[in-house]
């Protein structure tokens, strides 16, 4: 489409929309309006939104109509001698009182809805959500397993600095590697917190938006009524990749949910077994480098960049003191385990073998050729505080 066409059709679209009632309760219009969503609260929020939007539009149009009438009726050519009145107590009382009544009318349903939205008591299950630059960690407190969920749209889709235009999937920027799975019909309590800066977990279909604040725990809840896949985003500016930390929730029936939990627990046991095995074994340089390269690409390159060259406040690792000085191997490992200032901790996301591998990789890639090898056993010792 040519630019002009886009402008014309866009403007036209805007006005037909306005005319045809943007706030109509039709799902296909949700491109222009809030979504009714799939919870009782989201539906109530949607209804209240429509109501207040209509009332406000009517108020605005009444004001506009009065202005239009005045500028036509009382333009100089039509009304050459102005009247001189400059106050009217009656009028002033009327237009103070009527807005007050409208506001009181609107406040009443809002209060009831708010009280319900804030009441997270008597929940059937609890999921803790931790914002981490730029991914979400979900901890199922009742079943005791957790996983990290991050953007799965490949960088090749969004990095278009050559401006050639890239092919994009339907759920571009709204897809993740590990979906959160929740049962329908159950009251799910969310506990929100953060490991670094403030994030905000927002799924419009649930009308849930709650800030994840480092050092504090916030509480909110939802009860999903319909199975399906619901997408959301981080709503609070949280640094470089704020626009790239989506949320995907898959709501399923209770039996499917139980199955999924069982599978997660199995995976967890299996992973623990593999990690223990890996930690016990002595690794060769090749194996560590191969695994380290993978871990680095997945977890570290967003900040430290693919060639370890760093970017803005994320330090370079290629040629850096910490990654080349043979006396700093433990310090290097500890930073990855526990984090430092703006560097996130990875101790809870990576196994001992993975940490050993990524540290080894960083000490032997991009021209860092120390020959140092870190074994998982040493990572385990550092974790234990030796």
């Amino acid at each position: 489409m040519s630019l002009l066409n886009r402008v014309m059709s866009g403007t036209f679209m805007l006005f037909t929309l306005l005319a045809s009632g943007v706030w109509a309760n039709e799902p296909e219009l949700s491109k222009y309006n809030l979504r009714p969503g799939v919870t009782e609260n989201s539906q109530r929020v949607f209804d209240l939104h429509n109501e207040v939007a209509w009332i406000m539009l009517i108020v605005a149009f009444l004001v506009f109509a009065a202005i239009l009438y005045a500028v036509i009726k009382f333009r100089k050519s039509a009304h050459p001698t102005p009247s001189k009145f400059s106050h009217s107590t009656t009028l002033e009382i009327i237009w103070t009182v009527i807005p007050m009544l409208i506001l009181i009318y609107l406040t009443k349903p809002a209060i009831g809805l708010l009280l319900d939205m804030e009441d997270a008591s008597k929940a059937d299950m609890t999921v803790k959500i931790t914002g981490i630059q730029w991914k979400w960690k979900y901890t199922y407190l009742d079943e005791d397993f957790e996983f990290v969920s991050e953007l799965s749209t490949p960088a090749s889709q969004y990095e278009d600095y050559a401006r050639t235009g890239t092919e994009k999937g339907e759920n571009y920027l709204l897809e993740v590697n590990n979906e959160v799975v929740l049962p329908v019909g159950k009251k799910v309590r969310f506990l929100m917190t953060s490991d670094d800066v403030i994030h905000s977990w927002w799924v419009p279909d649930f009308a849930v938006k709650m800030d994840a604040i480092p050092g504090f725990i916030n509480e909110t809840w939802t009860r999903i009524e319909k199975p399906g896949v619901y997408r959301g985003v981080c709503a609070e500016l949280c640094g470089r990749l704020h626009g790239f930390m989506p949320i995907v929730v898959r709501a399923v029936t209770q039996s499917e949910y139980d199955q999924w939990v069982a599978q997660k627990l199995e995976e967890k046991a299996e992973a623990a077994r593999l990690a223990a095995e890996a930690a016990a074994k002595s690794w060769s340089m090749e194996d560590l480098m191969e695994m380290g390269k993978k871990v680095y690409a997945e977890k570290c390159s967003v900040c430290h960049q693919p060639e370890g060259q760093g970017l803005a406040s994320f330090p370079a690792l290629a040629g850096s003191e910490i990654a080349t000085n043979p006396d700093k191997i433990d310090e290097h490992t500890s930073i990855v385990l526990y984090g430092k200032n703006a560097m996130p901790k990875f101790g809870d996301q990576l196994t001992d073998a993975e940490i050993a591998a990524v540290v080894t990789y960083e000490r032997n890639a991009w021209g860092n050729s120390t020959g140092d090898i870190v074994q998982p056993g040493r990572v385990g010792e550092l974790r234990a505080g030796n």
Binding site: L3, G10, T11, L14, Y32, L34, R44, M56, A60, V63, A70, R75, K76, H79, P82, K84, F85, S86, H87, M100, L103, L106, T107, A110, L113, L114, M117, E118, Q157, Y158, D160, R163, T166, K168, Y172, L173, L174, D196, V197, S200, A207, V208, K209, I213, P214, G215, F216, N218, E219, T220, L237, C238, R240, L241, H242, G243, F244, L311, A312, S313
Partner: protein, 522 residues
């Protein structure tokens, strides 16, 4: 005249203590900042024209949104209003000049340094880790523990701007309370003076709070305190409370003087006195008072106790009442008038209409349960741009068109100014109206990239933004052309039936020292 001996060339501007010279410097400074901030907005809109990252790294994009906001708020809107105050208040109250002329000079000359500090953060040789990138609201800990090194320049820049604003505010208050012409009681003061005095009190109350916030940031960053760090016993949410205790009155600082401006222009071109002068004054004062009691409506998702959320919702909705009074009074002023549509009137009308739109979306945002959906989306971006662009900026433009003939003694080019008006009003709506939709549909703010479903709206906004930005160059041309002679001499009254001492008692152009002898006000 013996009084008119003053230095020429650069010294005139460096050492001037004259309210008109200082007013002009503020206004030009503001316009330059408006162009710089506008260029950044166009950078943002270029990146957002289509999905995908085409031009900026996300970190640079965040710096653009941050600096765009800071420059527009502190560099464009606030200095524009101080510039207008300088030009107009002495003339409107029958005084020769501002009460504290040297301080006046100082408070202006701080600004170029403050903004140089802020803009230096863009120089990569100085700051390899980039410019401030945490949004104009600079929430901790993104701005403290995670802020780039240039954050410290930002902090000192904000301190300087604050000092400048406080001095400007003190000057307005002292001038208005001490230098009014005999007979001009408080309840006879022109509305612009009233709105500015109230604004000045707001400034004096909140700029120190902002200074406190950035000082705490500084000590958190460098001196081991933990005001905003939970690990040391602090609270990142406390930052937001402090910031918005400043920030909400700040919103009114950026609109009250525009209310005053509309209250001059609408009566003049309706040939009828302002309807409900007293209720206008009381409404302005109550808006200002309430603005201290509603700050946390910017924070409905931080997890406040429900009682707090209820309180802030109700208090916020109450503000709609005095705001409505102002709008109804303007409409009533036009009622049964004899209206003509010179350019200042067109801008004032656009101001009333579009500000009303921004106002009604404000009531929607005040409702806590639904705000949880709107918060941090483009719906909010649409709302505050509707009150700021057609509000603060159209208000300033209307004022410039209205008083320019008085300032320069020349009429501006009416045809061009009407073209400027129509370009501006069409493009401002193309830019900001679609943002309501993209926000409701789920697009969060402060992101450099988005899903394809938002593409149409973003393209409209980008096209509108370029039109809007470039139309303002026409405004610059019209003003310069008017200063250089324009369309011939203006009469002393300028407009048919303009009220106010500046129009009834002073020639056009107004003399260098406005009133050598105080006029008598009946």
């Amino acid at each position: 005249m013996a009084h008119d001996h003053h230095p020429t060339g650069i010294k005139r501007w460096l050492f001037t203590t004259n309210h008109k010279d200082i007013g002009s410097m503020y206004l030009w400074f503001s316009f330059i900042m408006f162009l710089i901030g506008g260029a950044m907005a166009l950078g943002i809109r270029t990146e957002l024209f289509q999905p995908g990252l085409q031009f900026f790294d996300p970190n640079t994009f965040n710096s653009l949104t941050t600096l765009h906001g800071l420059i527009m708020v502190f560099g464009a809107v606030m200095p524009a209003f101080v510039g207008l105050a300088n030009w107009l208040i002495p003339m409107q109250i029958g005084a020769p000049d501002m009460a504290l002329p040297r301080m006046n000079n100082f408070s202006f000359w701080i600004l170029p340094f403050a903004f140089t500090l802020l803009l230096l953060s863009l120089v990569p040789q100085l700051f390899p880790d980039g410019a401030p990138n945490f949004g104009w609201t600079f929430y901790a800990p993104l701005s403290t523990k995670y802020g780039p090194a240039s954050t410290d320049f930002f902090i000192f820049g904000v301190h300087l701007m604050g000092i400048s604003s406080i001095m400007g505010a003190i000057n307005v208050i002292v001038t208005v309370f001490n230098m009014r012409a005999p007979g001009m009681t408080l309840m006879k003061m022109p509305m612009f003076v009233w709105t500015w005095v109230i604004t000045a009190f707001l400034l004096i109350m909140v700029m120190p709070v902002l200074a406190g916030a950035v000082t705490m940031m500084l000590t958190d960053r460098h001196f081991g305190t933990s005001f905003f760090d939970a690990a040391g016993g602090g609270d990142p949410v406390m930052f937001q409370h402090i910031f918005w205790f400043f920030g909400h009155p700040e919103v009114y600082i950026m609109i009250l003087p525009a209310f005053g401006i509309a209250s001059h222009i609408i009566p003049t071109f309706s040939r009828k006195p302002l309807f409900g002068y007293a209720s206008m004054v009381y409404a302005t004062a109550s808006i200002a008072f309430l603005s201290f009691l509603v700050w946390a409506h910017h924070m409905f998702t931080v997890g406040m106790p429900v009682a707090g959320e209820l309180y802030f919702m109700i208090a916020t909705m109450i503000i709609a009442v005095p705001t409505g009074v102002k709008i109804f009074n303007w409409v009533a002023t036009m009622w049964k008038g004899s209206i003509t549509f010179e350019t200042p009137m067109l801008f004032a009308l656009a101001f009333v209409i579009l500000f009303t739109l921004g106002g009604v979306s404000g009531v929607m945002l005040a409702m806590t349960p639904v705000d949880k959906q709107y918060h941090d989306t483009y719906f909010v971006v649409a709302h505050f741009h509707y009150v700021l662009f057609p509000g603060a900026i159209f208000g300033t433009i209307a004022a410039v068109y209205y008083w320019l003939p008085k300032w320069t003694g020349n009429m501006f080019n009416e045809t061009l100014s009407k073209i400027h008006f129509w370009l501006s009003i069409i493009s401002v709506n193309i830019t900001f109206f679609p943002m309501h939709f993209s926000g409701l549909a789920g697009m969060q703010r402060r992101v450099p990239d988005y899903n394809m479903m938002f593409e149409g709206f973003n393209q409209l906004s980008s096209i509108g933004a370029f039109m809007l930005g470039f139309s303002q160059l026409l405004f610059m041309y019209i003003v310069i052309n008017c200063i250089r002679g324009g369309q011939g001499k203006a009469t002393d009254n300028v407009w048919d039936g303009a009220e106010g001492l500046e129009f009834t008692h002073l020639p056009s152009p107004a003399p260098y020292h406005s009133f050598e002898k105080a006029p008598e006000v009946k």
